[in-house]
Symmetry: C2
DNA sequence: GGTTATCGAGACTGCTAGTCTTGTCAAGCG
DNA sequence: CGCTTGACAAGACTAGCAGTCTCGATAACC
């Protein structure tokens, strides 16, 4: 059971001691180890002990820089994940929305990010601190989508009384629901169908 | 910290010993205690120890009848929750859907069920066994909704190539998303807007 | 050159799921 | 009647994990 993992990253004793200065190499090793374990474990929780062992650091070193396990995990994910939020502006709501949704679905397909995100979500269910951190991570994207919809409404592509927040939640609702349960596809076809029906459903009369 | 709870249900020593026969009173006491704790704890996990103590039974008695904590919790919820799935049939898809969604939203508003369901979901994130049990619980409702949509499509109220599963997931996606995060309302107005835009979005041409 | 902050390692606390133990009690069987 | 047996309440125990604390080593800083 103790040797099932590829075992660390070789770095344990290699890394030079930096005395009273912060050891940036250790910082990186922790993030790398966290991301690696997050990506490998499909669903099963990632422990701090495992991260520390894989990074070749003491647990105290982890807790010196991050307040909780959740913080480490989220940091590891955002560190690598493309932080750039899609903000397509093709001039037409339907195509903007198609692009946005497709990009969102696509980003979640890359297996490394996917299993990391899945694990992170599961952990967030128990860790309020992490849940809060994830809220702000997700908030950025929600805001971008809302802006995109708002532009469309101003151009008259959506009815003036359209509930934009509801549309945002329909998009992310479907996304998370399928992403977490995995009972239906999240491909480009679905993205287009969803975008089209959302626009039609709230089109100006 | 040990006396914050109303403390048990008085029954501990009151309940008569049934010797070699199963004690149905204990069975009920466990379910009642589980539901009560589930309803009281908003978010914070419910422990088996707490259930056993509140029911005045030994932990072994709990595990004699249920395989895991999750099984007890789900059993407690389904035992009380209205198991009847809404299946309105008004003759028109738009009104059927409005009624179905409104009923779903409404059922989740009753505080007892709501916090129980929320806690249960959080636990399911960590307990695969419970997650599986919940799938079948939820599956019944998904099937009912899909049937409702299918009827509408057959009546020509939806385009023939409509992706019914995507609509189902939009409904439950929005529901769970808002239910768990609580950032937006789940009232009748939202139910109607959602139903209307879904029908319009996939209406036959 | 002494102080000080970081480091790796790992012991330790506290919490919880699930198992095992013990002594008790009544039902069923002879 | 009296012994066996299964369920029961209580709680000790194991195992796993988050987060804290301790310790000896090391190098920066004054």
């Amino acid at each position: 059971m103790s040797d099932t993992e590829p075992q660390a990253e070789q770095a344990p004793s290699t890394r030079p001691h930096t005395g009273r200065r912060r050891n940036e190499a250790a910082h990186r090793a922790i993030l790398d180890a966290a991301l690696k374990l997050l990506a490998e474990s499909d669903g099963t929780p990632v422990t701090i002990d495992a991260i520390a062992r894989a990074a070749g650091v003491g647990k105290q070193t982890v807790y010196r820089w991050w307040p909780s396990k959740g913080a480490v995990l989220l940091d590891a994910l955002t560190d690598r994940a493309d932080q750039d939020v899609p903000g397509p502006d093709t001039g037409a709501l339907r195509t903007d929305l198609r692009a946005f949704i497709a990009a969102t679905f696509d980003a979640a397909q890359h297996s490394t990010t996917a299993s990391a995100l899945r694990t992170l979500t599961r952990e967030a269910a128990r860790d309020p601190h992490l849940a809060e951190l994830m809220q702000s991570f997700v908030g950025t994207r929600r805001t971008a989508l809302r802006g995109l919809l708002s532009r469309g409404r101003e151009r008259g592509e959506l009815a003036g009384d359209t509930d934009l927040d509801l549309i945002v939640d329909q998009v992310y609702g479907v996304f998370w629901y399928r992403f977490l349960l995995g009972h239906g596809p999240l491909d480009e076809t679905v993205a287009e169908r969803l975008a089209d029906s959302l626009v039609r459903g709230s089109a100006a009369v």
